[in-house]
Point group: C2
Chain length 244, copies 2
């Protein structure tokens, strides 16, 4: 029995998220179908974590076990010929039997792309969030630092979701300006449902002058969803990498 | 009567090219409709030149004459609210009465984006041409230099098209590698129908080792379409800028 780890890129716009669900196009289900077509086996494909409907991945990680003897280096092309072009298997490698994409994940990096130009963009309209009001990037840079470290992010998750614990550790943060674009990047040991999109929405409020950067620690400590900013739309969000 | 010059970005995938034609979605027709909705006037929108079905523009130039007294700085937002999101008016300015987007154009720059990674890309699949076979970029760099200068590009235009002259002058060329991407860029006083896509296809043949870089002058001089490479697909091509 081989354990195969895939690195997967996808365009979230075309899917109702990673997770398998009946009658809704989803990434997990599509790849499991492709694996079955290639190997003849029904497998469970375990990702580092779900991504929501509309969220993109540059490099999601997922693993599955197989008795197939297809050479591992042939797996990406074999699966890609069975998949829609909005999913690409970028890499496959054999990992040790006990490797588990979710349990063994050490850290993940997400980025959120904001277009802060005057008119937005035609070509990249499905790949970034457009807001024409000029944002104060320096204030956003100050604010994002307060998210680093271990915190209870209860106020930064979608209401109505139940996770055992809402404590997460953020290792690294960055706000970058690249022409008309503002890129928010966060690396942490895990992220709650909608957490990156709510942090990004809160940073937009900081950039708009609605929230003072120095208020961030207070907002985090309040654990009150209503104190944080709005949830930005999924199509600006990218899972950048997963590290083990 | 004011003469207004627009700078326009569009996602070519959604349109049957720039030019107005009945029953086919086209960029010129869409913008003329938006101008009529905003000003109440039927106008002729004159572009620097047509782009074909599927070709993108980062900054097409086009002008129209109007008696409307809408302030010029309000025109982009006014038109954008009437347009599909796959067209964005990035800028508008008043120019002198005799300015003509096509006749006064001094030079245009196009780029063609090739993805030369192993599996292609999900997220940018409609924005670049994918070829998995490794291309020799150094040979492509040598080859593109031979296109510079004034030449009769009869062999590098779509057959069956009639233009008065097929002599064009190319001022600047570049082949760049950026990760998995190879970007071909050409600046010239004008380009024939499909010319950039045929030059790019010829450079791909050079990169594949099918055409020797040193043969390019001979291929140009032959004026024979069958000696050049194939026409690459439109979705990798971008009109980058138009200069006056």
């Amino acid at each position: 029995m081989k354990n195969i780890k895939l690195t997967i890129e996808y365009d979230g716009k075309d899917f109702n998220g990673w997770q398998k669900q009946p009658n809704k196009l989803n990434i997990q289900g599509e790849i499991e179908r492709a694996i079955e077509e290639v190997t003849g086996e029904k497998v469970d494909l375990i990702a580092s974590g779900r991504t929501d409907a509309g969220v993109h991945a540059l490099a999601q990680s997922a693993n599955f076990k197989t008795n197939s003897n297809i050479p591992v280096e042939k797996i990406p092309v074999a699966l890609n010929t069975k998949l829609k072009k909005s999913i690409r298997i970028q890499d496959a490698k054999e990992v040790e039997e006990k490797f588990h994409s979710r349990y063994n994940c050490k850290q993940k990096t997400y980025k959120y792309i904001i277009n802060n130009g005057e008119q937005g963009t035609a070509i990249y309209r499905n790949l970034e969030y457009f807001i024409p009001t000029k944002l104060n990037v320096e204030k956003m840079k100050t604010a994002i630092n307060f998210f680093e470290g271990e915190h209870d992010f209860k106020g930064f998750k979608a209401s109505g979701t139940s996770s055992k614990s809402s404590i997460r550790k953020i290792y690294k943060t960055k706000v970058e300006k690249d022409g008309d674009r503002i890129i928010i990047q966060l690396t942490g040991n895990g992220f709650l449902y909608n957490m990156v999109r709510i942090i990004s929405g809160t940073l937009v409020d900081v950039g708009l002058g609605k929230i003072d950067p120095e208020k961030i620690p207070e907002i985090i400590e309040s654990k009150d969803r209503t104190k944080a900013g709005k949830t930005l739309p999924p199509y600006g969000l990218y899972l950048v990498k997963v590290e083990y």
